[in-house]
């Protein structure tokens, strides 16, 4: 692949190798619905692309043309399709093509076509591509740690090509950088439930609970670890309500001042609805938060809902509904 800057700037009409081709203009019809306006070089490059696409010319010069078209508009899926056809016909080196995609992806990390092209390449290259793909997604995530495409690609690589060894550690690194990264929490769950190198959810539960509790105590207003904690007891609510670490955590959060108590309160509410027998300390902690002291006769669940109707006023209808669902 020739990356010379000067050569790239030459339009097809300025190159002798294109003199045999008649460019095809965009056919928008007489009164296009949503007509597109073009800069001249864009129009010209696309006109030549249309010509080779129509002729199904799968040549080196056509490949170069798809490159130029992609530079102008990496979202054009037809250009990527045709590029794949050419790559197959010419039996091009796919590792080199990965180099190419990496360069384009630097500035277009949210583009569906690029990620799909990459997956197509990796699939063809097989398990040997695993390391490289993990490195690539790592690079993208270092610029945008929540990039949905990157995470989706990374999950596919792990499941199809392998490379699980360092994944939990990688998740930990990302959470150190941003404990609020929901994608990293999701990946953590993905790993502990699906990695062939770990023992599965139940085996990992103990260590993961400790990890999550620490994260919550550092930032109790963080939605993700609260959900993660609940997920660790998937299909096993009994263990969840009987694990002293969970209620202790809630108590700790509820008794610290100046803290966002919303998720702690809603967790206690969930625990109650699954049969938790609350301790005296827990009741007292919740009562302290209740601005309406005349309702001391209310059940704990009722009190929690009353507190949340004020503390999380945006969702007042939700908390009122929760209250209505309580078995007194």
């Amino acid at each position: 692949m020739n990356w010379e800057e000067d050569e790239e700037k030459l339009l097809p009409s300025q190159r002798p190798e294109w003199s045999d081709v008649s460019p095809l203009p965009q056919d928008d019809g007489p009164n296009p619905v949503v007509p597109i306006a073009y800069k001249p070089e864009f129009a010209e490059t696309m006109d030549y692309f249309r010509a080779v696409y129509r002729a199904d010319e799968r040549s080196p010069r056509a490949l170069q043309l798809t490159h130029q078209a992609i530079l102008l508009n990496p979202g054009n899926y037809t250009v990527w399709h045709f590029r794949r056809l050419i790559l197959e016909t010419l039996s091009k080196d796919l590792q080199q093509e990965l180099d190419y995609v990496s360069k384009i992806a630097e500035k277009n990390s949210k583009n569906y076509q690029i990620w799909h092209h990459r997956r197509w390449l990796a699939e063809k290259l097989g398990p040997d591509a695993a390391g490289r793909e993990l490195k690539f997604t790592e690079k993208i995530l270092s610029g945008d740690a929540k990039n949905y495409h990157a995470w989706s690609h990374r999950q596919w690589v792990l499941q199809s090509l392998g490379g699980w060894d360092d994944e939990l550690e990688y998740c930990h690194q990302l959470l150190e950088e941003d404990i609020f990264n929901n994608s990293a929490w999701n990946q953590r769950y993905f790993i502990i439930t699906k990695s062939p190198l770990l023992g599965g959810l139940q085996a990992m539960r103990e260590s993961e609970v400790k990890y999550t509790v620490a994260a919550i105590l550092a930032n109790p207003e963080n939605e993700s670890p609260w959900r993660y904690l609940r997920g660790l007891y998937k299909d096993d609510p009994k263990s969840w309500i009987h694990d002293p670490q969970v209620s202790t955590l809630c108590l700790k959060v509820l008794t610290s001042s100046g803290t966002n108590h919303v998720f702690a309160l809603s967790t206690v509410l969930d625990l109650l609805s699954h049969g938790l027998q609350p301790s005296r300390e827990l009741r007292e902690a919740v009562d302290t938060l209740n601005p309406n002291s005349s309702s001391t006769k209310d059940s704990l669940g009722n009190t929690i809902c009353s507190v949340l109707e004020h503390a999380d006023a945006m969702r007042v209808n939700y908390w009122r509904w929760r209250k209505s669902q309580l078995i007194v």
């Binding site: 619905v33 037809t78 949905y148 994608s183 993905f190 963080n222 969702r315």
Partner: protein, 313 residues
């Protein structure tokens, strides 16, 4: 509170039809079919669909169809399931589904179903729950759902359900409001909503509302007008839309308008585009904002259009 500048938005959409000097729209050329759907559905919701010439549009749509039965994003492009649905939806707006060779289109869509029940976007095989929704929505409108294996399609969607009650693009994928809309709508259309934990998902969805009143798509992300559609339509389909603060969301959407030149942007003071204009108006429709027609949360078309498909004529 401000008001919906409906006339300005109509003018904006119609102007986009005629504008010839906008380079940014050049990069959207390949998805013009989607653009047509967003623009025309918005016009219909604002009661102004008659401002366009349906015959010209239909003529252009048919030029985008391929031998395979699928539709491309524009003339000279390859077919893809994304544009096939938009084509069907636009024809439905004009009550011209009869111009379609229904057998041909439905065979194209059905042919994209995989062994595990998932759907690919096109011959290149990308799999995503977005495509499950598109296939189910499109085939339902064409009344050809029996051409696919519905049970497997539903099973695949359920395999993408997460512990938080949400859905991702593939099994294990992070819950994301856009993917959730696709999965919930697909389950609604196939009569499989009982697989959704409505209380759990409803809470996850209403947690998307942030201080400004706008909605985000995942925890700790910025609000964006397009989530006014994806989160709201999902909440509507599971009967939990009252769990968010409607007034605050309306205010957020209205603040995202360009009241001078028309159009709506992703968040206040950003540049407008057709995509966000549609989602803002559709969101307001779900919030029962006056002057906007009712929209169907699963089919993403005006309710009277959906009624016409299933009950009319």
């Amino acid at each position: 509170m401000g008001e919906l500048a409906a006339d300005k938005h109509v003018k904006y959409i119609l102007a986009v039809e005629k504008r010839k000097d906008n380079f940014e729209s050049a990069v959207l050329e390949h998805l013009r079919m989607n653009g047509a759907y967003w623009g025309l559905t918005t016009l219909d919701l604002l009661g102004k669909l008659d401002a366009v010439d349906s015959n010209e549009i239909i003529e252009w749509i048919l030029k985008c169809q391929h031998e395979s039965g699928g539709f491309a994003g524009n003339v000279g492009h390859d077919p893809h399931i994304l544009y096939t649905l938009s084509a069907i939806q636009v024809l439905a707006l004009f009550d011209k589904l009869n111009v379609l060779d229904v057998d041909k289109v439905s065979t194209y869509i059905a042919g994209l179903q995989n062994e595990d029940g998932s759907f690919s976007g096109d011959i290149w095989g990308e799999v995503d729950t977005r495509f499950s929704y598109i296939a189910i929505c499109g085939l339902s409108i064409l009344k050809c759902l029996d051409k696919i294996n519905v049970e497997r399609a539903v099973n695949y969607i359920i395999s993408c359900r997460n512990v938080d009650g949400g859905f991702g693009c593939t099994p294990g994928g992070e819950s994301h409001a856009g993917q959730i809309f696709c999965c919930v709508a697909a389950l609604a259309i196939t009569g499989a909503l009982h697989y959704v934990d409505k209380d759990l998902l409803g809470w996850w969805l209403c947690e998307r509302q942030v201080k400004s009143g706008g909605l985000n798509g995942r925890p700790e992300k910025l609000p964006d007008v397009c989530y006014s559609w994806w989160v709201l339509s999902s909440l509507t389909m599971i009967d939990r839309v009252h769990w968010i603060s409607k007034e605050k969301l309306i205010k957020f959407i209205l603040n995202c308008q360009d009241t001078e030149n028309g159009g709506i942007s992703d968040r206040p003071d950003d540049a407008v585009d057709i995509f966000h204009t549609y989602f803002g108006v559709a969101g307001l429709s779900l919030l029962e904002y006056p002057g906007v027609k009712a929209v169907d949360p699963a089919y993403a078309l005006p309710v009277d259009v959906v009624d016409r498909i299933f009950f009319g004529k």
